[in-house]
Structure formats: structure tokens, C-alpha cells
């Protein structure tokens, strides 16, 4: 009886949420406010052009809201820390079952491609959609594939912690150098000429910061995934 009531409550709340969603979407679609939107976007693009970065979203995430990104990374770090504290295995017990042949061979083939794609997304974050967060998670998914296919594979904790520490310190250091040179945390102190917009080496510190973010996110997500997979089964 109680269970039934629980299900029906879920159903009604699902209905209510769906109705709310539909109403919101209709509101957004029907509301005609092109002027406001256009003005905000134009102002943003104008500011973005000063930094010489082709992808305006990257400028917002890394430069205009760079301090928020630092906070987001801190949140991710705390999440990884919590999962590590709860799930870290004291005795390394390999999985009992062997993964199947196709997975073993296909992962060997796919892993380099996934890694290359992740690094590409990371490095070209200031030119094309994507960036540090996405690239880091793609790399972590590559690590996940290796972890599933090979029981003995494991990234040493020292490597992960070294990468993560390096990335965190580098982010804050870049920000502090900007503070010293330009009186602004994460100030763009490297040359960022607008004539170089669209080139790989352009945008001053913005690609550097996004690569650092990518390294940090990649190592943290790999740590989370590894802790979840390599968890010590007590039975």
C-alpha cells in the first residue's frame, strides 16, 4: 500500500514537472525579445574580440568567469576526495572474471584514438567547441575503457596526484601572475593580438588555462572511475 502510494506520488510529480517544463519551453519560444538578446550577445562578442579567442564561450568560461571555473574545479576535487575516502581499496583484489576477447582487443585499438581526441578537444578549446572539461572527461572515459578490459591495469596514485597538484598550482599561479602584472586575477598577460585570432597560438593565457583545467579534470575523473572499479569486494 505504502509502495503503491510512493509510485503514484512519483508519477504525479513527474507529470507536474513535465507540465512545468512544457510551459517554460512554450514561454521561451513564444516570448519575442530579440532586441535584448542581440544586445547582450553583441557586447559579449565585442569584449571577446579584445582577447583574440575564436570561441566566445571559452573566453567567458576561462577569462570573464575564470574565478568561477576555479571554484568548479575545487568542487570536482572535493567530490573526487569524498569518493576516494569512501571507496578506496586497501587490499588490491583483482576482478575475478576475465573480460571477453572482443573487449580486450577493441580497447587496445580504441584507447589511443580516444586519448588523441581528448587531447585535441582540450588543446583546441579556444578555437572550436569543447575545452578542458570535455577533453578531460573524454580522457577519463578512455581510462575507464582500459580499466574495464584489463584487470591488472591501474594508474599509480602518485602519477594522478602529481598531475592534479601540478594543474591546480599552475592555475592559481597563472592567475596570480595576472594579478601582479595587470592588477586582475587571471589577467591576460601574454600577447593576444586580434590579428592572430583562429591560430593555434593565440589568445594569451586562455588556451594555457584550459589545458591546465583539462589535466586536472582528467586526473580527477580518472581517479573517481578507478576508485569505483577497483573497489575491494569484501565477500
Amino acid at each position: 500500500m505504502n509502495f503503491k502510494r510512493d509510485i503514484s506520488t512519483k508519477t504525479y510529480s513527474g507529470f507536474a514537472l513535465s507540465a512545468l517544463l512544457v510551459l517554460t519551453i512554450l514561454n521561451v519560444l513564444l516570448q519575442n525579445i530579440p532586441g535584448k538578446v542581440e544586445r547582450a550577445g553583441e557586447k559579449l562578442l565585442e569584449l571577446n574580440a579584445q582577447e583574440g579567442v575564436a570561441n566566445a564561450v571559452t573566453t567567458v568560461v576561462v577569462y570573464f568567469r575564470g574565478f568561477d571555473t576555479l571554484g568548479e574545479i575545487a568542487v570536482l576535487f572535493i567530490a573526487a576526495l569524498g569518493i576516494g575516502l569512501m571507496l578506496s581499496s586497501h587490499s588490491k583484489v583483482p576482478h575475478k572474471e576475465e573480460s571477453n576477447f572482443i573487449l580486450q582487443k577493441a580497447s587496445k585499438l580504441l584507447f589511443p584514438v580516444i586519448m588523441l581526441f581528448g587531447v585535441y578537444v582540450m588543446i583546441y578549446g579556444h578555437l572550436s567547441p569543447g575545452g578542458g572539461f570535455q577533453g578531460g572527461v573524454i580522457i577519463a572515459s578512455g581510462v575507464l575503457l582500459l580499466l574495464i578490459s584489463d584487470q591488472n591495469f591501474e594508474i599509480p596514485h602518485s602519477v594522478i596526484s602529481a598531475l592534479e597538484t601540478f594543474a591546480g598550482i599552475a592555475y592559481v599561479l597563472i592567475g596570480l601572475i595576472g594579478l601582479v602584472v595587470l592588477d586582475r586575477f587571471l589577467g591576460n598577460f601574454l600577447p593576444h593580438d586580434i590579428s592572430e585570432m583562429g591560430m593555434l597560438f593565440s589568445g594569451g593565457i586562455i588556451p594555457l588555462v584550459y589545458i591546465v583545467v583539462g589535466i586536472k579534470v582528467g586526473s580527477e575523473m580518472s581517479l573517481i572511475v578507478q576508485n569505483l572499479i577497483k573497489r575491494n569486494d569484501d565477500d
Binding site: S13, V137, S141, V225, L228, D235
Partner: protein
Amino acid sequence: MTGLIILSTFIAVIVVAFAVVVQKSLPDAIILFMGVSLGSVVLFFVFQAPDVAMTEAVIGAGISALIFLMALKHFKEER
């Protein structure tokens, strides 16, 4: 034509999200949750937000569903 695609994707996402809520088996719910993410990817891309679409594809459809599945596996082992 584009409007039709957008509208049908909206409806599909809402229907699949509803199916996630009423689903009895947890693995099925997780797979359907991936479906919601995939629909959102299409919507984000159509509304000219490729960065968000990429994030959703990688995190929503990829790693979060896998983390859910792994957590479910551990949960089943402990019961």
C-alpha cells in the same frame, strides 16, 4: 522542417524522462536516462550551443551513466 524536428525531439525527451521516473528496473532507467541526455544533445546543438552539447554528450550520456551503472553493480553485490 527544423521546427518539426525540434518539437518532436522536445516531446521525445519529455516522454523518455517520464519513462525514467516510472521505470521499475534500475538498469533500464539508467539506459533511458542516457536517452534523455542524447535528446538534450540534439536540442543544444540545434539551439546553437555546441559547447554545451559536447559537455552533455560526454558527461550526461557517457561518464555519468557509467558511474551510475558501476554504483548499481556495487549496490547489488552488497545486498
